[in-house]
Subunit: 323 residues, 2 copies
Amino acid sequence: MQTPDALVRASALVTPAVDAAVRQLDPSLHAPIRHHLAGGGKYVRAGLACLGAAAAGGREVDGVPGAVAVELVHNYSLLHDDIIDGDRERRHLPTVWARFGEGVAIVAGDALAALAMQVLLETPTPARVDAARRLANANQAMIAGQAADMAFEARARVTVDECLAMERGKTGALLSAACAIGAVLGGGDAAVALALGAYGEHLGIAFQAIDDVLGVWGEPSVTGKPVGADLFARKKTLPVAVALQAGGDAARELESILSSTPTASLVARATVLMEESGARDTVTAIAERHLRAALHALDDTDLVAGPKEELVAVARYVTARDR
Amino acid sequence: MQTPDALVRASALVTPAVDAAVRQLDPSLHAPIRHHLAGGGKYVRAGLACLGAAAAGGREVDGVPGAVAVELVHNYSLLHDDIIDGDRERRHLPTVWARFGEGVAIVAGDALAALAMQVLLETPTPARVDAARRLANANQAMIAGQAADMAFEARARVTVDECLAMERGKTGALLSAACAIGAVLGGGDAAVALALGAYGEHLGIAFQAIDDVLGVWGEPSVTGKPVGADLFARKKTLPVAVALQAGGDAARELESILSSTPTASLVARATVLMEESGARDTVTAIAERHLRAALHALDDTDLVAGPKEELVAVARYVTARDR
């Protein structure tokens, strides 16, 4: 599926602004952060902030400070998550901790997080202050999601609702904030920010649900992750939560596998059990439900027609299985 | 030396507010954060924020949101620094990463950093927004100091000026922000915030210089750190920078020791070389110079007399060798 034009435009607008912000950091952090950013990324959050500004009646460029701040928060979370998950590769490059050491990756992440607030607060207009407040709250919700994700690894089972709440925080909160911050910077009122925030939150959950499905049944050459990586890490993703909640012998066997030391054959068996429980279809249906909810949210308020259409296109792109 | 009354009052005012803020975090983070906070701490930064508010003409309680935010930033930096330095104990308790794992310590630190901004921005009055902006900038300066400190470990020598700049960031920036944020929240104008900020920055450098001296020549039972810990970690503290900059055979021998694998006898020899170079007296003189500069800064503007006297008392306490 082709990258939507809105994301291409956002990348062109936001990349130089991110680079300029990073140049303000301590010189010893430039190399690790540039190494990380060179891996690319789809600029979905930046695109949502710029489109949010335009959909609210402003210009895409009005959303740029928010887009920069949201991308900085996203990337700080990637730097820290890669340490936490022990992931040595991202986008076919060594992760920052694997290449520069854990200490550098921790501090580089901290620097990006602080930089996000600096970018918004250096010129504290009411809209930027509101954006900073929303971003701090979204960051905390994202952290809570990450903390829950880690706590789940030590638990034998989690409910589907617990898993959805975790994914709402881990992925939904920042996508929601990107849209709402864009709306605020574009001059939108509270109703527009609310509707765009709801769009972003549902889109985040839909995206994460599809990511979970691809994590179990996806093609490693497409996903860039080894087969069963989530299961080896004992992640309680949505397919796991759905299969466990289905109950019966299969759920008991799955629970027992997830409490054992993971091996390739146990992971393969767990995958079969999840498939047989119908978890793949159920989670795909969850993703589709949240995609529909995201699109419905766009009809809850008056938005500028062109950017609104592009938000629909971004939603379809982000939730496509071959993205 | 007895704890100044201002710090005792600040601890009583700020501890419940910090606890209330921490209760908003994801429940899985409560235990690690409470474990860390139970270790105590002197509430110097909280005391400076409350005294700053009072010295500017407000009440100590006006400084509390700033005091809470600054303590949260201080404690997030401790959680992350303990991972980076591999320190397994703080205040005679296991550090969070040693007790709960590195991932939990990273996320708990991230949560405290985000919480600091939330505390200030939840009610975005102009003073609180200004406080948030100052805190984001101080956090970034602190991170730059930490990054420089780490980069110095890999270098054979650093100048005294480089070392002072690093310590200004690592320790001076947050003490400075604590005072200036207190001033702003207490209704002080830019001149008062500037003078109190200068007091805090010089005090931070004086404190750090004395900490460096104690790190080499202090009594482990008082400092709570093993003898020569900084030298084993190849830290380029002020005594090292001063001794290296003195030049001559002693500096060459010290440089060679600091590039070798540290052993107890090499660390003992490095300590003798630094003593003979006069570094102990030179760094003590640097600390005294910055203490005087801190006290002078208090005379640069009109401050309320009582809180001003207490700021002097806190400065003497923080820079006392038996604190």
